[in-house]
């Protein structure tokens, strides 16, 4: 029994006077307790919206969410606002992209930590302050007791993100969703934060959904990876399998486009041609077809379904949504 089971999740945005826009189009995946799952894709592929709809953080109006997201057997999408509020922070938590704007600028850091503790663990202010100092210490913030009284603008970017992670994990949620947590940080800090995340989720046996567009992040962290394109999952595999034998042309293209230090001088980069705006809606075939090197007429006529793929599945079962996947023989071994 999975910790989180997402089935056929769809989110359609509808603003006054505009065309409805399907941001998430039938996404399904599982997260096991203690597992780290990656949601990978370019901007606009629907990964953040997926996370926000699971957490119930989408605006009340202007969108329609269908499908199912079952967390520990409870259907989240039909819960009332109050019921969802009880769970957020306590059972499932989220860390966002920009650490500075994600913190309230006019109240001290300590208060931003203790308010979660007071809310869900019923602690008194005094006790919560002590616990808050412990939490800040655990995420590697030096001199935590002094930090409690400081304001967000007095901390560096890395420290703020650490504080946000501390806040998210304060009540020991079973599931943590991290939405591009390192994108806004310097590269050196990125590595630190990711290492911190890996360590923490292992210590507390917390499941982690890692949302990112950066394959390097995925490679270091995730047990299982879902690749999203145009609001749908197009490939799912274990980390090693995915990187060794990428099957979907999109995944393959992503990996091939990463510049390599050991490439011969003068070798050209190989981007994926076209852009995300060149989607075809999924109802008329495969959304990736206009950009796909393997595309055939079938690809634009028949919408591919998510099906088990036996090629290159050393780690475990893998799923693939493609009519003309990349053959393993044609690939280099990705170290």
């Amino acid at each position: 029994m999975a910790l989180l089971e997402v089935r056929d999740l769809s989110v359609v945005f509808q603003r006054k006077g505009e065309e409805p826009f399907t941001a998430v189009d039938g996404v399904s995946f599982d997260v096991q307790p203690g597992q780290t799952v990656g949601l990978v894709g370019e901007s606009g592929c629907g990964k953040s919206v997926t996370a926000m709809s699971i957490m119930g953080l989408l605006p009340k109006r202007g969108n329609r969410v269908t499908g199912s997201a079952r967390f520990e057997e409870t259907e989240l999408l039909t819960l009332s606002d109050r019921q969802m509020r009880d769970r957020r922070g306590r059972d499932l938590a989220m860390v966002f992209q920009d650490p500075l704007s994600s913190l309230n600028p006019v109240i001290p850091i300590g208060l931003q930590v203790t308010e979660v503790l007071e809310r869900h663990r019923d602690m008194s202010r005094k006790k919560a302050m002590v616990e808050a100092a412990n939490l800040l210490d655990k995420v590697g913030i030096p001199d935590p007791r002094r930090r409690l009284d400081e304001y967000p603008h007095q901390l560096s970017g890395g420290m703020r993100q650490r504080a946000l992670i501390a806040i998210a994990l304060a009540c020991r949620p079973r599931l943590l969703i991290a939405d591009e947590p390192t994108t806004a940080l310097d590269v050196t800090i990125q590595a630190q934060i990711l290492a911190l995340l890996a360590e923490l989720v292992q210590d507390t046996d917390t499941a982690l959904i890692m949302i990112t567009h950066d394959l390097g992040v995925v490679a270091g962290l995730c047990d299982e990876v879902n690749v999203l394109y145009g609001g749908r999952v197009v490939e799912r595999a274990g980390r090693h399998d995915l990187f060794q034998v990428p099957r979907h042309p999109y995944t393959h293209g992503l990996l091939a486009s990463i510049p390599r230090l050991d490439a011969p001088k003068g070798e050209r980069l190989s981007p994926i041609r076209g852009s995300v705006a060149d989607n075809i809606p999924w109802t008329s075939g495969c959304a990736f077809a206009p950009r796909c090197p393997n595309a055939t007429d079938t690809c634009v006529e028949v919408t591919p379904e998510m099906e088990p793929d036996t090629v290159g599945s050393v780690q475990g079962p893998r799923l693939l949504r493609c009519h003309n996947p990349v053959a393993p023989a044609a690939q280099e071994v990705n170290a």
């Binding site: 994600s102 913190l103 006019v106 308010e115 979660v116």
Partner: protein, 340 residues
């Protein structure tokens, strides 16, 4: 923080200095010359000569300015010629200032008590009927001249319906003890409840009329500020923590939205003073607003000079206080020493 305060105080001094220069120039430009202006028409030759001497009109302009400043410093602005003939301008100011202050305070309280909650709700239910209605209401509030609103209130509620007194500050029959000069407060302090209540009744209509000016602005600024804050990322974080709505509203939304609102309230005092001139005239309310209106009508220059200087001075002071309080409220300014 200290450096910031000092810097602002210096600015205040400069502004007051330039203001005094302007007023001095103004005094010298009055029709008929300063002596006629300050003494009125029926002054004897002897008094004229004496004033000419005191103002130093036969001496170089620097001396005149210096004499002007020293007279001002000692509070000598001359004797009223039209508003309350016989009383010095200074006396008039001291008598009437508490009245206008009391009126303004009540007006601001009304504007805040209605404007801020309404602004918050309008922002939360953006596009709803309350939002649209309030916006239209506040726009109309700006378009209606305050003295006309005062007229209508007086006519309908005081004259026709007799619910409120039509003029003045306290009914003639009531014998009240004066402590602070604030009639309502005095009544409360001396426990003369009927006096306090009567004073309050006299304040309500002019205060409502006067409050229409700051209300519109406070409402719209609150609404805009709350809308801005609701879009911020840290509200999303607060929601993701599962905090209750009242906590988010108090600690995250309002605490941030109030920053621009507080500045606005300070700036509104200037508009209040201007509105007081018109409102007090309609309600014959004996404050400095009425003194200014009468002074202008009857060309009572001593009174005008003093009141304009005081009005400007009060406004500048309040702006300074608002700026300083901003530094206190916003920790980003407080902890970086006022660097903005």
């Amino acid at each position: 923080m200290l450096r910031y305060t000092v810097r602002r105080l210096l600015q205040l001094v400069i502004v007051v200095g330039v203001l005094s220069l302007l007023l001095f120039a103004w005094l010298r430009s009055l029709p008929g010359g300063p002596v006629s202006a300050l003494l009125g028409e029926r002054a004897t030759e002897a008094t004229r000569a004496q004033l000419t001497e005191e103002l130093g009109l036969n001496e170089p302009i620097f001396v005149q300015y210096w004499k002007f400043l020293s007279r001002a410093a000692t509070g000598d602005f001359g004797v009223s010629t039209g508003v309350q003939p016989g009383d010095t301008a200074g006396e008039i100011f001291l008598q009437r200032f508490p009245a206008t202050l009391e009126l303004s305070i009540l007006a601001i309280i009304i504007a805040i008590a209605i404007g801020i909650p309404l602004g918050y709700v309008a922002a939360r239910r953006r596009g709803g009927w309350l939002d649209n209605l309030s916006i239209v209401g506040s726009l109309i509030g700006v378009a209606v001249p305050v003295f006309f609103l005062a007229f209508v209130l007086k006519q309908v509620l005081a004259v026709d319906l007799g619910l409120f007194p039509t003029a003045g500050r306290q009914a003639g029959g009531i014998d009240a003890t004066r402590v602070t000069g604030f009639f309502v407060l005095d009544g409360v302090l001396t426990q003369e409840w009927d006096a306090a209540w009567d004073a309050l009744r006299h304040l309500i209509l002019p205060a409502i009329a006067l409050s229409s000016i700051p209300f519109s602005v406070i409402f719209r600024i609150t609404r805009a500020a709350v809308l801005d804050v609701l879009d911020e990322d840290f509200i999303r974080t607060a929601e993701s923590k599962g905090l209750t709505t009242p906590v988010i509203r108090r600690r995250h939304v309002l605490r941030n939205a109030m920053l621009p609102v507080v500045t606005t309230i300070g700036l509104q005092t200037g508009a209040l003073l201007a509105g007081a001139v018109l409102t007090e005239k309609v309600f014959a309310f004996p404050g400095i607003g009425q003194a200014l209106a009468l002074g202008f009508e009857r060309r009572d220059y001593p009174v005008l000079l003093l009141l304009i200087l005081c009005a400007a001075g009060v406004f500048v002071l309040i702006n300074l206080l608002v700026d300083l309080s901003y530094a206190l409220i916003d920790p980003r300014i407080r902890t970086t020493g006022g660097a903005r």
